[in-house]
């Protein structure tokens, strides 16, 4: 089976600004694939080229083994997109938003009606089917936007920052739905700037910054091979500690307040420094994506 998405040297320029800089990636059927990166990394630009809303500047991009430049309609027929910003139709009710969208895909009215009901039940909005969009909270709107993206039973679901700006409860609600879809075997492309979101939802991901892909792989593997198993985090430490860490040749990152030491044996490192270099605090924890992110992009991102 050919991959769902195949990008080679994919590039997007806006005038003199290069938003996506010759990236390569392949997304297979049935996986949840993440684009993790800070604002301005080029995630939305990449996604827009995939759903054929923005022409590619250079490179090759095939979706369902079709060229985005040649067969945008056939590609878009099989994609569902939940955009970063709210694009729900404020003039329609909750349910009408889905049926009208179904019409764009050529779904007969009756079928669209049934499908809307299923989807509204899936996201827990059936009771509010006649509500106007402006009566919905941010979290409900986002869930409705996801439902709308499923109206054509897409082979690929694209979620561009699906939980940005949501409160913690709503985020978990959205994650729940994404997990369900993933279990059902749907191919999902997700962008986010939340580490926990990427870690919990994605089978594979890329970390993107300044239009480039820095690393690619399953999140746990990436963390293990690039960071180590554990992190010793120290804050309020004496300057001598940094010198010591350097001497030992440990892999580390530091800003003015905090120091992170990446290691496979956190306990040993902790033992070695906790007493010798008194600090305000020192903990050992499992390494996560955040550590990888910090290590790859340095302090610049912390601003």
């Amino acid at each position: 089976m050919p991959p769902v998405i195949e990008a080679h040297g994919l590039t997007k320029r806006y005038g003199s600004l290069t938003a996506v800089d010759a990236v390569d990636f392949t997304i297979d059927a049935g996986e949840c694939y993440g684009f993790l990166g800070p604002n301005g990394a080029g995630k939305t630009s990449t996604v827009k080229m995939i759903h054929c809303s923005s022409p590619i500047t250079a490179g090759d991009l095939r979706v369902f083994d079709l060229d985005v430049r040649e067969q945008p309609r056939s590609i878009k027929q099989r994609i569902g997109v939940c955009q970063q910003e709210d694009t729900l139709d404020p003039d329609f009710s909750v349910r009408k938003n889905l049926t009208v969208f179904g019409r764009y895909f050529g779904i007969p009215a009756r079928q669209a009606g049934e499908r809307s009901r299923e989807l509204l039940e899936f996201i827990g909005l059936w009771e509010r089917r006649d509500a106007r969009i402006r009566e919905l909270s941010g979290g409900l709107k986002r869930r409705l936007a996801i439902a709308r993206a499923l109206v054509n039973e897409p082979d690929l679901l694209i979620l561009d920052e699906p939980t940005t700006g949501l409160d913690p409860q709503s985020r978990h609600q959205v994650w729940d739905r994404v997990r369900t879809l993933r279990r059902q075997g749907k191919t999902i492309l997700l962008t986010t700037h939340y580490m926990d979101e990427a870690q919990t939802l994605c089978d594979r991901l890329v970390i993107m910054d300044h239009g480039r892909i820095l690393v690619e792989g399953p999140p746990a593997d990436l963390v293990r091979t690039r960071v180590g198993r554990e992190v010793v985090e120290v804050w309020g430490f004496p300057p001598a500690l940094v010198a010591h860490v350097r001497e030992q040749g440990w892999s580390f990152e530091a800003d003015t307040h905090r120091l992170w030491i990446y290691t496979d044996s956190g306990e040993d490192v902790f033992e070695a420094i906790a007493r010798r270099f008194p600090s305000e605090g020192c903990t050992v924890r499992m390494a996560g994506l955040e550590d990888l992110f910090l290590k790859l992009t340095g302090r610049e991102l912390r601003e």
Partner: protein, 250 residues
Amino acid sequence: MSVADAVALVRNVSPRSLRVWERNRDVYFVTWKTNLFPPLAEPILYLMAFGAGVGALVKQVQYRGEMVGYTAFIAPGLLATQVMFQAFFETTYNTFVRMHYQRTFDAIITTPLSLEDVMAGELLWGATKGAIGTALMMLAISAFGLLHYPHALLIVPFSLLGGLFFAGLGLCFTGLVPQIDSFNFPTFLFTRWAQNLANALPLTHVANVIRELGFGRVPRDLVWDLLYLLVLALPLNVFGIHLMKRRLVK
């Protein structure tokens, strides 16, 4: 825009553009109460004002060598203006709201519709608004006995064509204006070329055809009038789509 661009653009328009027309129609029905009133009330106000005011002084006007009642002369002008305002307002103000504030087009172009489809749907809807407004206004004007049927019925399909011209003109502006405020004080309407385009040429044509039909006659040069409008409307529509595409595709 080259001829090749225009051809490519037209080839990207498909029957799916009707889905956008349907979307706008559905919104129209959701808000029908506010939509119905103005075209019905406007001519009544005008005709009463003109009839009682100017009409009391000027009972008859000379038109193409014959004398016609003053209000009968004015009414077709009201209809022509209605075609213009409805269609133009739709593809300027309303299209801008859908494009910029509601991001409706961003959502639709992720479906199998092309941006050209979306714009063609907007233009068709703009023309339809012209026709709806005209039909409503005709109801009110007919109450004054100023329209002669069945000829006057042809005014409705004709206003679709007139509407298409003004919808196209509106879309060109929407493709160009920096922000929606520009429509509140449309300086572009005061520039000479726009005035010539919007007023002098097509509006008088539209008014003349409507007047003849309203009097119960087939306009002498109907075929030429239709051709003339079509020849003006089509390139303007294509150019409007082009400008919108330039604005939206990044």
